[in-house]
């Protein structure tokens, strides 16, 4: 296992280097820079613009900027965000924490929904329940999650108007959060998290449910399952031990992707629910051309993707004895 990990580390170096070059230069392809809007401000003199561009290092050539950035990164410094005038990690970290809660909760719900529903569909193939689930899933598969969120918000608003119930549909905490007890704070956050997490889980679960159902059906037809049944192994064991364990192999192979996904936030769901996660921050950064914030964050996710893939391979070896990592 150790040689496997070492090999992975060595392999990841050129990958990361190439990724960083691409990230940095693709961002630079956009016209203008962070200071462009300031140039339209009659209150800012050209002299001050030069000062700022010197302070931000924007007066240097692009390759030079890249080399300095790269050099700093080896020392664990991902650069300063132009907007915040703070190290990228300091800016990103509180947002990542916020996103993490949402993503973890929705991932939990995601598996809690997808696995039983997928297994049910396979075990009761073509039953009325299976058919009903299939129809719903087809519907959800074709639905962008942010649109689903908007529809749900609409219904919540109707419910709020009708009942006067205060169901939170935006943000992460209530106005009086600071005055709440610690238990009250946890409950307050959960209240805010639950709706976006459920929407996210439901809309994503549609895909995975179908994969699990298909995998299970395939494995159930295999010889060893028939043998197990013939030997009189009870049905529960057949499904969960013999079929399910083999059926989820492709899912385990994908688990590595969860690591970068966990910190890259819940995408447009965060925007729709005005959730203070990574995505809204990143969108602003792109709009304002906050170079190092975008580049730094992308590098972090790339590193996590590499680590995540290694973890996937290890997990696969644990689940599937046929796969060896050494």
């Amino acid at each position: 296992m150790i040689p496997f990990l070492l090999r992975r580390v060595v392999q990841s170096i050129p990958t990361l280097l190439l990724a960083s070059v691409l990230i940095f230069f693709v961002i630079q392809l956009a016209p203008g820079d962070f200071l462009t809007p300031a140039r339209l401000n009659p209150n800012i003199s050209p002299e001050q613009l030069e000062n700022l561009s010197r302070n931000f290092g924007l007066d240097r050539s692009i390759p030079e900027q890249y080399l300095r950035w790269m050099g700093n990164m080896f020392r664990g410094d991902f650069g300063l965000s132009f907007q915040y005038q703070q190290p990228v990690l300091d800016v990103v970290w509180p947002r990542i924490k916020n996103s993490l809660w949402l993503v973890l909760l929705s991932t939990l719900l995601f598996y809690a929904i997808a696995i039983p529903v997928g297994v049910y569909g396979a075990v009761r193939q073509n039953s009325l329940g299976d058919k009903f689930i299939n129809v719903v899933l087809y519907f959800l598969l074709g639905f962008p999650s942010f649109f689903l969120a908007l529809i749900i918000i609409y219904f919540i608003l109707l419910a709020r108007d009708a009942t006067g119930l205060d169901i939170p549909i935006g943000g992460m905490t209530s106005n009086n959060y600071e005055q709440l007890s610690s238990l009250g704070r946890v409950w307050d956050i959960v209240k805010h998290l639950i709706i976006p997490a459920v929407v996210l889980a439901i809309s994503d679960a549609a895909g995975l449910t179908r994969v699990i159902r298909g995998q299970m059906l395939e494995v159930m037809r295999s010889d060893y399952v028939r043998t197990a049944r013939a030997k009189g192994v009870n049905e529960r064991s057949v499904i969960w031990k013999h079929t399910f364990r083999n059926g989820i192999l492709p899912i385990v192979a994908n688990i590595g992707g969860l690591l970068p996904a966990a910190i890259s936030g819940a995408g447009f769901m965060e925007v729709v629910f005005a959730y203070p996660g990574v995505t809204p921050m990143l969108l602003t950064a792109i709009n304002t051309q906050d170079l190092y914030l975008i580049a730094g964050f992308t590098v972090i996710t790339t590193i996590l993707l590499v680590i995540g893939n290694a973890i996937s391979d290890l997990l696969l070896a644990v689940v599937d004895p046929r796969v060896k990592v050494a």
């Binding site: 956009a30 016209p31 203008g32 820079d33 462009t36 809007p37 140039r39 339209l40 401000n41 009659p42 209150n43 800012i44 003199s45 050209p46 002299e47 001050q48 613009l49 000062n51 700022l52 302070n55 931000f56 907007q83 915040y84 005038q85 703070q86 300091d90 800016v91 509180p94 947002r95 916020n98 935006g170 943000g171 992460m172 905490t173 106005n175 959060y177 600071e178 925007v271 005005a274 959730y275 203070p276 996660g277 809204p280 921050m281 602003t284 051309q289």
Partner: protein, 585 residues
């Protein structure tokens, strides 16, 4: 004996606690006579806050500006735009031909941590802003024509400012917020600019933030909200007309909403107390909610024009295309273009009827300056007049497509661009192009990327890469409403002529440059406005830039709030209320 004791007592009290600043009763339409105190003002911010550091903060709506509300040696009276002593004890002593100001600081003012506010705080704050390595947004306000303004401490409560030349903006420039010397001065002396940049980031504990102003920072949650709390120390020297400490409010919260539609939704749902009304659509939604009884609020449409401009500029530096260069430099052509601009249609169609026609670089909201330039020429919508002017230039015939051609058969056409995504500007450009077609001028209107557009506009040289650009400017003060980099030749926003030497090309430009510096160096308000009027006259004649229209400012606020400005004092420049006098009913 008793009397002597009383006098002695009164004198000691008098020297320890100087007279507070009394907020004029006329600054509010609704006196807080019921003496209601406490409560929260709930507002919003479109973008997340970036820092708590007053020296690196670059945005207008930053946490440092919010907490420092109610600071500055001088403050502008919204009734007449005049500067009155505020953190200063009295008007300054002016000497050296209007270049030296000796200012007494009001005694008894304290920072939120209880330390007195003294001359040192003003001196240190200005020094740090002036350090170009800090990158402060206020850097420019402490320099005049490239030379620094100096500040000197005379004694603990007296500072002296020396300006390199007389400046109309002197009071504004001296009206900066003092930040604590005992916090920043120490760091700056030890670690210089780098140490200042590292201070008061978003990670700093809010209770370490020391405020000179109306609020202290209560709490901040990234991407969610900032809560400000009343600074009791500020109330010690700010009283209402009946002697009560201000502000009445206990707190003000700013929810970060991320986009204007979300802000409107929160306002309609009664979750925030006020919202910036962008257009007719917003107005209609608020009106509907009020009529349906879902929202109890006040709505005042068309309070004033916005302090912004929208205009079309023509490029005079087109060495690569002599035909167009000659065209754009011809004053008859530009006057014709002003005649083509159907400003009424622009207000009606692009702004839903809620706008103001503009003819000068001075925003129409700056009424006093506009009044001083009332005789400046205008070239309003008149297609016949445009046709006549173009005929004088030799465009007498039309080709098969109906476009004017000169004697050599060259079509009268140019490209006009604006920034894509700005729907109002896209409509303004479309209306302009349609009207131009009526007289036979071919306008190829294309919205392009904003950054590309700015690069083109601010480019320098003999052959700049655009024909005409439709864009807008905001910012500027009502003291001297001409931009230092807009009006004089050589300024980077002197958009129509920006040759490599930065020289003027016409006598009017030379005159405007001269008048700009003359007015900027005039302290007397009336005289300065008269000079401004002369600039407007030269600008009107030359028509270097065709000013179009601007949107209007509308006010709406929830019924639970009281203490707004009287209707006549509200405008886009001063806003609709001062939080110091605002109270929750």
């Amino acid at each position: 004996m008793k009397k002597a004791l009383f006098v002695a007592l009164a004198m000691t009290v008098g020297s320890a606690v100087a007279a507070p600043f009394v907020w004029p009763a006329a600054w509010t339409a609704e006196q807080n006579t019921a003496n209601k105190r406490g409560g929260e003002y709930r507002y919003y911010s479109l973008s997340d806050y970036k820092t708590f550091n007053p020296f690196t903060s670059a945005e207008a709506d930053s946490i440092p500006t919010l907490i420092a509300a109610g600071t500055g040696l001088f403050a502008q009276d919204p009734r007449n735009d005049e500067f009155i002593p505020y953190m200063a004890d009295a008007k300054p002593t002016v000497s050296n031909n209007g270049k030296r100001f000796v200012v007494k600081i009001r005694e008894g003012m304290k920072f939120s941590d209880g330390q007195p506010i003294t001359a040192d705080d003003f001196v240190t704050t200005m020094r740090i802003h002036m350090d170009d390595k800090v990158g402060s947004n206020s850097f420019d306000s402490f320099r005049l024509a490239g030379k620094p303004i100096t500040i000197k401490k005379i004694d603990n409560y007296t500072v002296q400012f020396d300006f390199p030349q007389v400046s109309s903006g002197a009071y504004e420039r001296m009206a900066f917020t003092p930040w604590p010397d005992h916090v920043f001065g120490k760091a700056y002396r030890e670690g210089g600019a780098e140490a200042i940049k590292k201070m008061w980031t978003l990670g700093t504990n809010p209770n370490q933030i020391v405020s000179p102003g109306m609020w202290t920072l209560g709490s901040y949650r990234a991407g969610e909200r900032a809560v400000l709390e009343r600074n009791e120390r500020w109330g010690e020297w700010n009283k209402d007309s009946r002697g009560n400490a201000l502000p009445y409010l206990a707190s003000a919260s700013y929810r970060i909403v991320g986009d204007a539609n979300a802000a409107l939704a929160a306002y309609l749902a009664g979750q925030i107390d006020s919202v910036a009304v962008r257009n007719a659509d917003d107005l209609a939604q608020i009106k509907r909610a009020m009529d349906a009884g879902r929202l109890k609020a006040t709505l005042i449409p068309n309070v004033s024009p916005q302090a912004t401009s929208q205009w079309i500029t023509f490029n005079w530096n087109k060495a690569g295309d002599p035909f167009k260069q000659k065209l754009f430099r011809d004053v008859r052509f530009r006057r014709a273009m002003s005649h083509i601009a159907n400003r009424k249609a622009m207000v009606d169609l692009a702004l839903g009827g809620l706008g103001t026609e503009t003819y000068y670089s001075v925003y129409p909201i700056f009424r006093q300056q506009i009044a001083a330039g009332a005789s400046a020429p205008k070239y309003p919508y008149n297609l016949q007049a445009a046709t006549n002017l173009l005929r004088q230039m030799g465009f007498t015939k039309k080709n098969a497509q109906g476009y004017l051609v000169d004697n050599s058969g060259k079509v009268l056409e140019f490209n006009l661009s604006t920034n894509a995504g700005n729907t109002v500007r896209e409509q303004l450009g479309r209306i302009f192009a349609d009207e131009a077609k009526k007289v036979g001028v071919k306008v190829n209107f294309t919205p392009i990327d904003f950054n590309n557009l700015v690069n083109q506009l601010t480019s320098k040289g003999e052959n700049r890469p655009f024909d005409a650009i439709l864009l807008g400017l905001a910012n500027g003060s009502n003291v001297w409403p001409f931009g230092s980099n807009v009006t004089p030749c050589g300024g980077n926003l002197h958009s129509y002529n920006n040759n490599s030497k930065g020289t003027c090309l016409t006598s009017q430009e030379t005159l405007m440059t001269k008048l700009y510096f003359q007015g900027d160096a005039t302290l007397d308000d009336a005289k300065r406005r008269a000079i401004g009027g002369q600039i407007m006259k030269a600008e009107g004649e030359l028509q270097p830039v065709i000013y179009l229209v601007g949107g209007n400012y509308h006010v709406t606020f929830n019924e639970r709030l009281g203490g707004e400005y009287p209707r006549t004092m509200m405008d886009a420049y001063y806003g609709s209320r001062d939080l110091a006098l605002t109270f929750v009913k």
